[in-house]
């Protein structure tokens, strides 16, 4: 027991190091994935959701809590605020769900050299995260549409869409960008990266039983976090989106101005791209182009 406590005791500055490391790396990867386009085949979307292997690796190698919180904050700062996509209250749900999933994945591993354990933890982490987001999304529709059963096929289709996207995220994104890289990175980094932060590697001689890992603290934490995530999401979106399906206003107003706004958005995108292209061409002419 004393040994187990030993592993979790980090000094204030070591916690800060783990936090900074996780924040900046995951933030960077988020910025990169934001810029990678998605491939769509009908309703199935093959997209790089996130480079989940970075927070997973760090949660497994270091203190899971600080690595998880750092990664979530990094996502909000780099991927949202800096790109101007900060979603206000809705970000809170993402933040909690992601921290929780990564924390659980990190706590599951007791021996970072054991690839099977690392792999199971990685895929579990992604599955937990996607599960929470899918449940929140389905719940949003149930709450958002007052007479969901009255709309033919909508309830089933929402569940089907969410189920497909869950499987797709876990099986495609999860395997390619969480499972394989984590299994590659963790054993290689174990023992190499910790001295750079001035700390000892996690001791793999300590064995916990599953009961110890899923102790009351983790379970209570997960329930609380899951509830908080749901509440946050409902608060952000309680009166949203799908309520507009009662279409009584369609005949009240014409729909021309909507087209104007969409057209304006498209036009701005087009003009921006053109400006960027021409700018690059100018820069290339002066010989300062960078690739």
């Amino acid at each position: 027991m004393s040994l187990m406590k030993q592993r979790y005791v980090l000094t204030q500055s070591q916690k800060m190091m783990v936090f900074i490391l996780s924040m900046s790396l995951y933030g960077l990867s988020n910025m990169i994935t934001e810029l990678i386009p998605a491939f769509r085949f009908g309703s199935i979307e093959l997209s790089v959701e996130y480079f989940a292997f970075i927070p997973l690796t760090l949660c497994i190698l270091f203190h899971p809590l600080y690595a998880a919180i750092g990664a979530s904050l990094g996502e909000v700062i780099f991927g949202e605020i800096m790109l101007g996509q900060f979603g206000g209250l809705g970000e809170l749900e993402k933040f909690l769900a992601f921290s929780l999933a990564m924390f659980i994945a990190g706590s599951l591993v007791r021996d970072p050299k054991n690839r099977r354990q690392v792999g199971i933890a990685a895929i579990t982490g992604v599955a937990i995260h996607q599960m929470i987001s899918s449940m929140v999304d389905i719940g949003k529709v149930w709450v958002g549409i007052e007479e969901l059963e009255a709309v033919p096929g909508l309830a089933e289709s929402v569940v089907v869409i969410e189920g497909v996207s869950f499987l797709n995220d876990v099986l495609f994104s999860g395997i390619l960008f969480a499972l394989l890289p984590t299994m590659y990175l963790v054993p290689r980094l174990y023992g190499k990266i910790e001295p750079l932060l001035g700390m000892k590697p996690r001791d793999n001689k300590i064995r916990y039983s599953l009961g110890q890992i899923l102790g009351p603290r983790v379970i209570v934490l997960s329930i609380v976090a899951a509830c908080a995530a749901l509440i946050a999401e409902f608060m952000a979106e309680s009166d949203m989106a799908l309520i507009e399906w009662d279409a009584d206003f369609v005949d009240t107003y014409g729909d021309w101005f909507i087209w104007i706004s969409i057209g304006a958005a498209a036009l701005v995108a087009l003009v921006t791209i053109l400006v960027m292209v021409s700018r690059r061409r100018n820069a290339g002419g002066k010989g300062v182009s960078h690739g």
Partner: protein
Amino acid sequence: MEQVRKLLDKISVEQIKIELLNTAYGNADTLLARLDPRTLFIWYLFFGIAPWFIHQEPVLLGMFVFMVITTVMSRISPLIIAILCMGLLSQAGYMLVASWFFGGNWDTIMPLAVLTLKLSVISLASVTAFCAMDPEKLSDGLLKIGAPAKVSFGIAYGYRMLPNLLDEYHHIFLSFRLRGKAPEKHGILYWRSVIYFVKIAVLSFYPLLLSMAKRARTTVEALETKGFSYAGYDAEVRRIKLAHLRMQGRDYLFLAISALYVVLLFSLT
């Protein structure tokens, strides 16, 4: 696919870096940038949340026009606006296609368009509010409204380090490409090249993890020399640090004009 590749060629890493730095530091002299961060928070709280509860399209449209004006005024970088527009349009398109799949018809376009309008008002509000402030201002403002010291540090650090990190990542990526061998054939839908690039993109994080770990240690040591972790919790330190934030005449004027505009919109419809 071809178009996407061409577009990606245009968006180079250098370009992105320059745009981000521009966003962060390039527009300190705009009207919005000189406002107090708290003013912008209040302003954002209204324009970021209120559109969800408004169902009159003229009001939403008026708000959209207002957001466009403020966005132009705060000189947001074109890259950010391009990303925003692509996101909004693709989301609306996807939902439209999905609804057709399950028995929707042309009537579904209308609610979706209204939703897109709402979303664009909200995103433009957040772009204006958060990109108008330079990073120091944003982190000071967050500290003032009670965010933990780590959050405000994270923002400042992110803006400072991101260009360096992107640079380093890019260098590692390029050296992997130099030493590696690209696939000779692209394959159907470029799948060979895609896999090759994705693999490099993932592998490049290995050296970056190690060098970033070193850098994190240096950063924390520098922070501790300045007493960061204790200063963060000390009320007196916070007071001195944030003494420069003051609500001035132009803050109240800006809020008043915004409020007046919204009231006008509602009364006109």
